[in-house]
Every structure is written in structure tokens, then in C-alpha cells.
């Protein structure tokens, strides 16, 4: 492909969802079918363009460009292997979730506003992955967060407004911290560009301050303990697709930012010498253990998933802050593994919540007899979370553990494995009680099942506009579930190869 054409095409990765969001707002009076097609197309085009980028990247072509949009710094983008990995993940999940959301949000009066803001937020996320310097990164990061705020308060109940306010304050703090750090780095080094490999070369108090600022900014977004507390409320109050987007994509922008700060602003070898990342290891371990501890006592399925997300992101940050190649590879792989795993769990949770009419785990007994497919996928994802062998998370845990041992920290292996056990303790019972313990009727008695369905209906838990059997629900769940396990079984685990190649650039 001609370089200029590629340049223009890449801009459309960000522009399409932004334009789509705008168009959706203008077309809010038109038919639902048209709007749905518009949503699908505006998330599908970035996916297609991104897929085409793989060829030039593999040939080693330089994919970067600066637009003089906001002088003196300018908007710039740059796609390297790692950026491509994140971008592919983002556009893929953006597409899958937007398909799911179309079915999930049916019947919602303000669905247009939701989808418009969702597309804008997605555009921001794509921009973050494409950013070529921290200024661009900052712009898209803030934009994405503000759009997500609208998604959080979508239901406009008092609780959701409260959760939204909490999120807003946190995200503003994060933005301010990021801005401050970027300014310091710009002043100290004269550049904010990514991919130069270690802008900061000597330790100074200002550089440390900037480091802390970055960590606050990205730690907040990635929900690192003790900056995590916005997350469970926001997830529980936001419409479910928003929670999926946040969990699968937005949390990852935090982790990605941290990775960029470590790799491109400071450089891993510099940080290893300076020892600034050491506290992060402890904080990440704390995240892992405390997130699981809190998840254990939740009866609200979404809150349990949210707290488990805190623990899972802890793995990623732990791996990055170990500053060791295998561990970083494990962490970056875990970004993908967690996205698939948590995405599946959330989508299944949405289907089950709509199907059973309750969010309480204790009331979901026998869900497997009602929605066997959904609960099978949920169980597979639960096993993924525990880190059972054929699934993705096992691979990331394996590499994280290898890295931890390489760094001479066997205790961290213990942390990982204890967390795996805790994951088993809070995920497996959900899967178990879905299939076992509530007999589907001995022999082939359909009566009990029918009675069960009727009691569910009697409790006023109709299926509403949401049909679990619709392809728009089933297909995303199925695709994500396959993604949980398929890569490990392939002869060549190509996400892992991409990750290894991307991480290698840092070391």
C-alpha cells in the first residue's frame, strides 16, 4: 500500500467511531435498523483497517505521522508492534461489544445517547493506542474518560450519578497528574515522543515527581489499590456494555500507558537501576490479594467481577513492575487474556442477569439449566480466571511466575497461586451452582424445569426485550469464549509471538 494511503487510512481508525458517534446523534430520529448498522459499521471499519496494518508492520515499515493540529506539539500517531497489539485488542473488543450492546440496550429510551457516547469513548481508546507521543495520548485519554463518565451516569439514578461523580473526580485527578508529568518530561527532556527508548537518562527529583504523577494517572485508570475505589461502583451502576468496555479496553489503556512510561519515557534498565518501580510490586501484590478478598464477599455478580478485575489488573502491573522480559511478556499477554476472560464473564453475566432477572449470585442457582450455553461459556471463562491449563491466563501466569523466579522473588509466585485459588473460590461456585445441586429433574422430567421457569417468571423476571438466544448475544459470547482457550491450543500462539516481539523492543 502507498505510504500516504496508509497514513490516511490509519486516521480513519480514530475518525470512524467519532464520525459514527456524531452521525448517530444526527440520525436519532431514524429507524433502529439504520442506527444499528451505523454502529456496526463504525466499529467494523477500524477493525478492518487495523487488520491491514499487520502486513506493513511485519515488513518493518515505519507507521508514524504528525499532524499540526494543535501547535506547538501537534497530534501524532505511531504504530509499533506493541501499539498494534493493543490497537487490535481495542478495535476487536469495540466491535464485539458494540454488537452485544445493540441487543442489550434494546428498549432503553436513551440508547442513542449511550451509543453515541460509546462510539466517542471507543474513538478515544483507539486514539490512545495509536498515540505517537504523550501529548496525543493525554488528549485521547481525557476524552475517553469524559465520554465514559456519560456512560456511567446513563441510568441517571441517584446511585449512578454518585458513582459517576466519584469516577469524574478520580479521572480528573488522573488527568491532572498525567498533564503535570507530561509537562515535566517535556521540560526536562524536550520531547514527549514514544518509541525513542528512555527519554529520561538521569534520576532527578523532578523525574521522580513525574514518575509518581504517571503512576497516579495510570494507576487510577487501571484501578490499582488504593486508587481503585471508583471502579466497583461505576461498573455496578453503568449499563453492562459500558462495564465491558471499561474492563476490556479502558483499564488496559492504564496498563498500556504504564508500559509506555516504563519502556519509552524512562526505560526498563533505567528504572531497574533507580528502583522506583519497587513500591509498585507491593501495591500490585496488594491489589491481587485484596481484590480477591473483597470479591469473595460480594453477592452482586457485577461487583464480584469488578473486584476480581482489580486483582487481575494487579497481575499486569506486577508483571510490568518486575522489569524483567518474561514477566513483562506475561503481563502484556495477560492484557489480552484478561480482556477475553473478563469480557466473556461480563457478557455471560449480562445474559444471565437479564435471563434470571437478578444480579444476586445466591439467586442464580440452576442458571445452567435455563441457559446452558451461556453458563458453559461462563464456566469456561471461570476456569480461565483460575488459570487452568489450556486457557490463556495459564500462559500469562506461567510467564509471570518465570519472570518472578528469574528476579529471585519466589514469594510472588505464591501470591499468584494464592490468587488463583481465590479465583477458584469465588468463580467456581457460580459455575457449580449453575449446573449442579439444583436437579434438572431426574430422568428427563421437563416438569421441574418448567416449574423453575414459571417461578422465575412469577417473580416478575421476564426476559424483557433481551433475548439470550439472539445471535447478537450468542455470537459475541461464543467468540470471546473461543478466544479464552484457542490461542493456547494453536501450534503457534501468535498473540504470544507478537507480545514477545513487542516486549523485546524494550530490552
Amino acid at each position: 500500500m502507498h505510504p500516504t494511503l496508509t497514513t490516511i487510512l490509519i486516521s480513519f481508525i480514530v475518525l470512524t467511531p467519532l464520525l459514527g458517534g456524531g452521525a448517530l446523534y444526527l440520525l436519532r430520529k431514524s429507524s433502529i435498523g439504520l442506527k444499528e448498522r451505523l454502529i456496526t459499521v463504525s466499529t467494523l471499519i477500524p477493525l478492518i483497517i487495523t487488520a491491514f496494518l499487520y502486513g506493513p508492520l511485519r515488513r518493518g515499515e515505519e507507521l508514524q505521522k504528525t499532524f499540526d493540529l494543535l501547535p506547538p506539539l501537534g497530534l501524532s500517531y505511531r504504530v509499533d508492534i506493541l501499539g498494534f497489539y493493543m490497537l487490535l485488542l481495542f478495535v476487536f473488543f469495540g466491535f464485539v461489544v458494540s454488537i452485544y450492546a445493540q441487543q442489550y440496550m434494546k428498549g432503553d429510551k436513551k440508547a442513542d445517547r449511550f451509543f453515541a457516547c460509546m462510539l466517542l469513548a471507543l474513538g478515544g481508546c483507539y486514539g490512545v493506542a495509536l498515540a505517537g507521543d504523550f501529548f496525543t495520548f493525554y488528549l485521547f485519554f481525557e476524552f475517553m474518560s469524559l465520554m465514559f463518565f456519560v456512560l456511567v451516569i446513563h441510568h441517571q439514578t441517584e446511585a449512578s450519578l454518585k458513582a459517576g461523580l466519584k469516577f469524574l473526580f478520580m479521572t480528573i485527578t488522573a488527568g491532572v497528574a498525567l498533564f503535570l508529568s507530561a509537562v515535566i518530561i517535556l521540560r526536562e527532556t524536550g520531547s514527549l515522543a514514544l518509541g525513542q527508548g528512555g527519554l529520561v537518562t538521569e534520576a532527578s527529583p523532578l523525574a521522580l515527581l513525574a514518575f509518581c504523577g504517571f503512576m497516579v494517572a495510570f494507576g487510577t485508570k487501571a484501578a490499582l489499590v488504593p486508587l481503585h475505589f471508583w471502579m466497583p461502583d461505576a461498573y455496578a451502576r453503568a449499563p453492562l456494555p459500558a462495564a465491558v468496555i471499561s474492563s476490556a479496553i479502558m483499564l488496559k489503556t492504564g496498563a498500556y500507558g504504564m508500559l509506555r512510561v516504563f519502556g519509552d519515557v524512562y526505560g526498563f534498565s533505567f528504572l531497574a537501576g533507580a528502583g522506583w518501580a519497587q513500591p509498585l510490586i507491593y501495591l500490585a501484590s496488594l491489589s491481587i490479594l485484596l481484590g480477591s478478598a473483597i470479591a469473595l464477599v460480594q453477592d452482586d455478580l457485577i461487583r464480584r467481577l469488578a473486584y476480581s478485575g482489580i486483582a487481575q489488573v494487579g497481575y499486569i502491573i506486577l508483571g510490568i513492575s518486575l522489569l524483567q522480559e518474561a514477566a513483562v511478556a506475561g503481563a502484556v499477554y495477560h492484557i489480552m487474556a484478561h480482556a477475553f476472560m473478563k469480557g466473556t464473564l461480563f457478557l455471560c453475566a449480562g445474559a444471565v442477569i437479564r435471563g434470571m432477572g437478578t444480579r444476586k449470585i445466591s439467586e442464580m442457582k440452576g442458571a445452567g439449566h435455563q441457559m446452558p450455553g451461556v453458563m458453559l461459556c461462563f464456566s469456561a471463562a471461570a476456569l480461565t480466571a483460575v488459570g487452568m491449563p489450556p486457557f490463556n491466563v495459564f500462559i500469562s501466569k506461567w510467564y509471570l511466575s518465570l519472570g518472578a523466579l528469574e528476579e529471585g522473588m519466589p514469594v510472588l509466585v505464591g501470591v499468584l497461586l494464592v490468587s488463583s485459588f481465590l479465583n477458584a473460590a469465588y468463580y467456581l461456585p457460580i459455575a457449580i451452582q449453575a449446573f449442579f445441586g439444583v436437579p434438572a429433574g431426574h430422568g428427563d422430567g421437563q416438569e421441574e424445569e418448567e416449574a423453575f421457569r414459571q417461578t422465575a417468571a412469577a417473580r416478575g423476571e421476564g426476559q424483557g426485550d433481551f433475548k439470550a438466544g439472539s445471535w447478537k448475544t450468542a455470537l459475541p459470547i461464543l467468540i470471546l469464549t473461543i478466544g479464552c482457550g484457542a490461542f493456547g491450543l494453536l501450534a503457534v500462539n501468535w498473540p504470544l509471538e507478537i507480545v514477545k516481539a513487542g516486549v523485546k523492543a524494550f530490552f
Binding site: P226, L428, G437
Partner: protein
Amino acid sequence: MDFLKDTGFSLIPPVIILLPLAFSFLVPFLKKRKESTRDLTAVFFAGITFFLSALLYLKAGEEAAFFALPGFLGWGLNFSVGPLGAFFTLLSSFIWFLAVLFSLTYMGHEHARPRYYAFLSLTQAGCLGVFLAGDLFSLFIFFEVMSLASYALVVHTETEEAMEAGRLYLFLGVAGGLSLLTGILLLNSFTGSVSLAPLFQDMTAPAYMRYLTAGFLLLGFGIKAGMAPVHIWLPKAHPVAPSPASALLSGIMIKTGAYGILRVAAQAFAPETGGFLGSTSSNLGFVILWTGIATMFMAAFIALFQTNIKRILAYSSVSQMGYILMGVGCAAYLGPEGPMGFTGTVFHIFNHAFFKAGMFMMAGAVYARTHELDLDHLGGLWRKFPVTSLCFAVAACGIAGVPGFNGYASKTLLHHAVEEAAHQGSQIFLYAEKIFVITSALTVCYILKLTLGVFFGPEREDRGQVGPEPLLEKLVFGLFAAAVILAGVFPKFLLTSVIIPLTEGFGFDPYRVNYLEKLDFWARPDLLAIGTALSLGVIFYLFFSKTGLFYRHPPRWLSIESLLYTPLVRGTVLVYTLLGSSLERGVDKAYVKPGPWFTSLFSRTAAWESKAAGFFTEVALKQASRMYTGIGSGLDHLFEVIYVQSGIPFKALARRLAYFDAVTLTRAGQAAARLSVGIQDKIYSRWCRLASCYDAKLHRLMRRTFVAFIKADYDTKGDPFYQMINPMNYNFDLVVVWLVLLVILLLGVR
């Protein structure tokens, strides 16, 4: 790695795994068809798997079968099947085949049969994978598949009891798996390899890390093997599963744990040459040996007091695993000198697979017809189950170690092994040998209780017609009994042609192996030893049944579970959940609480602010403006007064003059009056001018003062009016400040 060198590539190992795997995914698609179709397919798949295992066994006798998937899970899946792995694979797939055959009749009274077959098959894939795996990483993967898949078998009945047992099974299984993974990771980091070969010489770790690694591995495998303090799941989980599944759990699956321990203790940690006593593997062997002894004795003792058939069998399994572990311990303890322990263990695994799996299935056959598992309600069933009771009696003879049945051969080998350990190693194992004999007596005792209680003696309850035994069951049970008898009659043949070749790759001393080949199973001391055990057992039985001690149940609290695990687990869970819930609330509070505090701080600050502003308006601004207006009006007044006061006398004088003029001199007077009025007017107007001049000056002063407030410099430009409206003259900062103050003032006034 030289045992990998002469490997031959073979597709059989992956196919053996894939067949049951494929069947388990096939089952949902067979749901719509007839049950018999699925049953036949299950038998077919199990049969083919068995056939391939036999092929593999023949092939592995010549050279190890090898297959690898390098990219699998980012690490690589390796199959490497030596004689030992192939032997266990063959054994497992054979027992599995029999269990599937038995399932056909047994599962008739159970629900959710498709699920049962799917998970049975999946479990088989995992279990066979453990034996086929070429390194610990692959072994671990299959181990986990087996653990998880067998959960569905344990909780199959979905009763409250089964769910409870299943929970314990699952969580101990997960914990075991994680412990195993830790061990493998540590092993990999110290040796750079996870293959099933002697790794000791590559080990760079300090001694405590070696033991830690070994400890994790032992714990992981030990949980599955029902090793003594972590056996608690076994007596709960095995009885609640459907009988064919119990048979497989006890007959095959727990052996994967023993197999793993054998690989780790006697191979991975074994020194390649010499100096075995005091080495890591030897110390491990010491621990394993005593653990085995403790396990066998404790479980046999507890089995005496059970009345549920399957619980007795489950405790018996724990006890027999004790024998097996003891053999592993002997092999590891004596290192190159320990082929006796090794062969004893392998032989006993083989024997136990037959008699225990058989007994579980026979118990299942009884349960399927009588729906009763309690010894107190059973008895005299031999009339109704003639073939079953005969086969059960044979299997019982096997487990009790009666000469001529298979248990005798392996127990003799194990007995020799523990004696060797005592002679060549520590004298302390003489006590182990004594416990071994007593445990064998206890085994005889509980097995007598079980066999006599179920099949012989008086019939406790009238059950009417419970139906004839199906032909298929008779066939399966007959096969089990035949295996028990054959292995018991020809132990020598089995030992030399099958079991001794398995020692390859374990680095045993060839002299010792030779000695084994010349072993006489029918030597008098051995017969004497088993005779002692048998007669002791019978005496125990008589004593126990006469005194009624069989029915004395130990108090519930007197178990390792209620003494140690339950409080431990409850405490940990309580602490952790408390921690979790309090953290959830606490962290939120920690962040939200400062909110109101800040708000109140802000509002207090705002109050101060407004107070300060009020003070400013009140004092500074008002006073200043009052001062200025005061000065202005004071001056005004002063001039007014001066002007008025000064005008009055002149006016009076003028009037007086006019009066005087009017009275005295009219013309002169009038002229004078005109003059005086003119003068007076002139003076008056001058005064007026003067006064207005002062007035204007005052205004200019005031304006200047005002301008000073909003202007930076005093150098005004343009004419006075223009000065006022010319924006050039204003300092906007000051304007804003004053405007803000004005607003505050206005707000304050309101």
C-alpha cells in the same frame, strides 16, 4: 536426557488422548439418539483406547514413543512414553474399559447419563495423559484436566452430601494443582528443565529450596494420592460418586498421585551416581516411607469402624495407598538399591487397581438393586448375587493377601522392601515393619467384616426379588476375579516379564534387579509373615465382633478434619472475608469521608471569606467612602456656611443703607443705594465665583481620588470628561477588583 535420545516418533500417544476427548465432545450430539447408540459408542471408544494402549505398550517395550507439540500453551506439550508410562496407560485403559461396560448396567438408575459419559471420557483423557506425558509441565496439564473433569463424576448424584464432598474434592484438587505448579516452576527455575529424568545433578539451588520444591511437588501429588494428612477428601468423595466412577477414582485416579511421587522422589531428585544415602531423594524417601506407614495404619484402623460399604472401601483405598507410598518411599530411600520397593509399588498398584475397582463395582451392583449401602441392613446376599459374592470373596482374598491371590505377591515384595530399608538404612524401619504386619492384620479384619456382613450371614431385611445378575456384570466381575487369581498364582511370571522391565530409566543397580528376578514368592518366611497377619486378622475380627467394638463409632471431633482442617479453613475464610468486607467498606469510607470534611472545610473557608469580605466592605470600603463623602459634604457645608454667613452682614448693611438712603437723601441716597447695591452685587458675585471655584476644585479632587482607585498612574490623558470615559485610563485589574468588591458588597448588603 539420554532416555530421550533413542526415542521413536509415534502418533499413538496423542491419539490415545484424543479418542476419549473426542467422545466427550461427541456426547452432546448423541443426546437426540437412542441411549443404546451412545452406550455402544462409549464402549467402542473405550475399547479402541484400550487396544491402542496395548499397541503402545508393545512398542514402548522396544523404544520410548515420542510426540511433541512445541507451541502448545507457549511452552510445548510433550509425550514420551517409556515402559512404565505405557504399563500404567494399559492398566488404566483396561480398567476404564471394564468400568464403561459396568456403567451400561449400573447407570440405568441414575439421572443425567449424557453428562456422566461425557465427563467420564474427559477424565479418562486427563488420566491417561498423566501417564503419557513426557515432562512435568504436560503431566500437570493432564493432571488438572483429570481433577476438574472428575469433579462432575463426584457430584453426579447432586445430593447435599455429594455437593459437600465435591466442594472439598474440588478445592483440595485446585490447591493440589497449584502446589504442583509451584513445584514445577521452582524445579524449572533451579534446573532449567521439567523433564521426567534425573535432574538432581543440574540443581543449583540451596538445600532448603530443594526440599521446598520437593515439598510442593509431594503435596500436589499427595493430595491426589490420598496421602495421610491430606487424604480427607477421599473417604468423602469416593463413596458419593456413582459406583463405576468410584471404582475408577480408587482404582486408577489416585494412582496418578503415586505415579507422580514415584517420578519425583525416585527419579527427578535421585542422584545419578552413588552416594544415595543422605541425599535429597533418600531423605525424601524417608519422609514418604513414614507417611505411607502412617497412612496405611490410620486408614485401616478407621475402616474398622465404618458401616457404609463404600466408605470402608474408600478408607481401604487410603490404607492401600499407604502401602504404595511406603514402596515409593523405600525405592527413593535406598536409591539404586531400591528396586524391591519400586517393583512392590508397581505390582501393588496393578493389584489394587483390580481388586479395589472390582469391589467398588460389586458394591455398586448391590446398591443398584437394593438401594442400600449400610452393613447394618445388609447380609446374606450370596443367594441373590451368587456370582457377585464369589467374585467379591476372591477380591477380598486378594486385598487380604491370602497366598494364591494377587495381594499376597505385592505385599510380600513390599514387606521385603521395608526389611531392606531397615537392614541397609536406619534400624528405625524395624518398627515400620511391625506396623506393616499389624496393618495387614487390620486389613484382614475389616475385609472380613465387610464380606461377611454383606454377602454372608443372616439376611437382615427381606428384599423380595431383586432380580438376576445381568450377564454383562457377571462377565466384568469374572474378569476382575480372574485377574486377581491369575496374578496371585503366577506372580513370578508377572514380575519377571512385565514389572522388572519397568525399572528402566530409574538407575537401579543391575545386581539388585538380578536378585529380584531370582526371588521366590513361596519362601517359608514370607508365608509365615502373611500367615501371622492373617491369623492376627481373624483373631481381631473375632474379638471385635464378640465385643461389639465394630459398632463403637469414634467421636466426631476425634478426626483430623474437625481437629485441624475445619477450624483452620473456617478461621482463614472468616478472617479473609472479614478483611474483604471491611476493606470494601473501609476503603470507600476512607475516600468518601474526607469528602464531607473537605466540603465543610470549604464552606468554613467560604464563611471566613465572606466574613473577611464583609469586614472589608464594612470597615475599609464603607469607612473610606464615608470618609470621602464626609470630607466632601463637610467642605461643601463649610463653604455654604461661609458663603451664607458672609453674605448676611453685607445684605443687612445694604438694606440699612437703602433704608437710610430712602429716609434721608432720595437722589443721593438712591445713587448711593444703586452704588452700594452694585458694589454689593459685585462682591457677592465674586464670592460666588470663588465659592464655585472651590467647589469645582473639590470635585476634581474627588474625581482624582476615584480615578486613583481604578487607575495605575495619575498622569491622565485628554480632557476631564474624556478622562472619565477614556478606557485608556483605566487599569482593568483594578476595575475588576473593585467590581468584585462591589459585587461582594452588594451580596453582603443583601
